[in-house]
């Protein structure tokens, strides 16, 4: 799997790493049960601090995309792909709303009305 972090991108490094991994999971490039590189491996390759990678993994875990276990490392959860797509769509929605100047409460209301 290829993980590229654009230097010109704004936003914290860990978010960029998490974003790229999320996209890989959403596209099914890494499937359920697949092992992600260890934090140390990824940190070494990307030349970033290991805690930056761990923070990215922590974020993905909180979103329900991956499972982090001692010894077994980080694996993609069965529901990972669906959750990743959903998370990506929500982020797109948020960005679009932000661009149009729609406040978060307003967005909440829109989503609730749609449901």
């Amino acid at each position: 799997m290829l993980i590229r972090i654009d230097a010109s991108d704004s936003g914290p490094l860990y978010e960029q790493i998490a974003g790229r991994l999320r996209a890989l999971i959403a596209d099914g490039e890494v499937g359920p049960g697949d092992r992600l590189p260890t934090a140390r491996e990824l940190a070494e390759s990307l030349d970033v601090n290991m805690h930056t990678v761990l923070r990215a993994y922590g974020e993905l875990r909180d979103e329900g995309l991956v499972e982090m276990r001692r010894r077994r490392g980080v694996t993609v959860r069965a529901a990972g792909a669906g959750r990743a797509r959903l998370t990506e769509l929500v982020r797109q929605l948020r960005d679009e709303a932000r661009q149009q100047g729609v406040a978060l409460e307003e967005l909440h209301r829109l989503v609730e009305e749609a449901g």
Binding site: M1, L2, R4, I5, P37, S45, L46
Partner: protein, 362 residues
Amino acid sequence: MNVSAQAQRLREHVRNAWSGEGSLMELSNPGPGGARVILGIVLPVGAVLVAALPWMVFWNRLPDPVATRWDLAGDANAHMSPLSAALLFVGLVVVLGVSVAAATRLVSSRPSNDASRGGFLLGVLVFAMTLMAVASGLTVAANIDVASWRATHLGLGWVLALVLFSLTQGELGAALARRLALTISSEPIGEADRAGSAVDRPTVDLAAGERVAWVGACGSRVLSRLGAGLVVGAAVFGVLSPVGGLTVWAVLLGTGLALVVVASVRVTVGAHGVRVHPGMVRWPSVVFPLNSIGMASAIDVGALEWGGWGYRGSIRVFRRAAWVVRQGEGLRLDLTDGCVFAVTVDDAETAAAVLNDLLSRA
């Protein structure tokens, strides 16, 4: 640095490496002459001596007939007159020794970039020759000073040790033959190939300042199952015959574990260069820092070409090594000091592209 300058630099490195500028490595690194002498003379003559001398020295202390085959429990189950047995063993080893010498001549008289076939052929021949020679010696050893052939005993551990030792000798023979064929060839590692791939080398268009990591893996179910089977076999063997079977047990367990470890491989590419380690554990790992790599390419790995499955060859001794888990797609690294490393891995094309981009940026 542009592509042609890089190719030029590589060519120089290769030339320096092959011209054999003295280095510490040379001591343990036989040149073409040394390899030819070892393969064509030392190994065959040694094998014939190992096969024949025990018969000559211990002739008067052997029973008639002598035992020539033993069952799994180590009890003799076939016999022959000493003269027939000696002639059979020594004759076979002489024939094989002559074949090894002839094959060595053939390999060194026909320069070819395709060192694989000669290497494989010589590997098999040296394996068979060693096996017969040591078996001959073992047969004598088992028969010394016994009243009758039925009283002899040869444990399975000895047989396994014999096979393992012969395998390492075959391995050595194959490596020497490849080295021989490569060294006498005027274009050591395919100058044309190199130039070709240097022109249309793959790229991922890495931007300045962009960080990149590539992780790939591949594994062989056959190898890992075989390894697991051996480990289980060792466990069963250990339980069933705890006494006397320590050699067999250790050999089975060691081989099984080693197989499981090399059956899968994980490759990471990034700012650190290339790291290769077993799929299950992080140790042992092979690391090539970016500044040691001249160029990367995706190749089709044929197992015979690199000497079989597992970790083959040695960068330090033979300037060529490969980690082969299956046939097919693999990543080849041409190091700046002229050494070559290859590892089988899925999507090697992307790995090579990332590496070349990192290299041209460095």
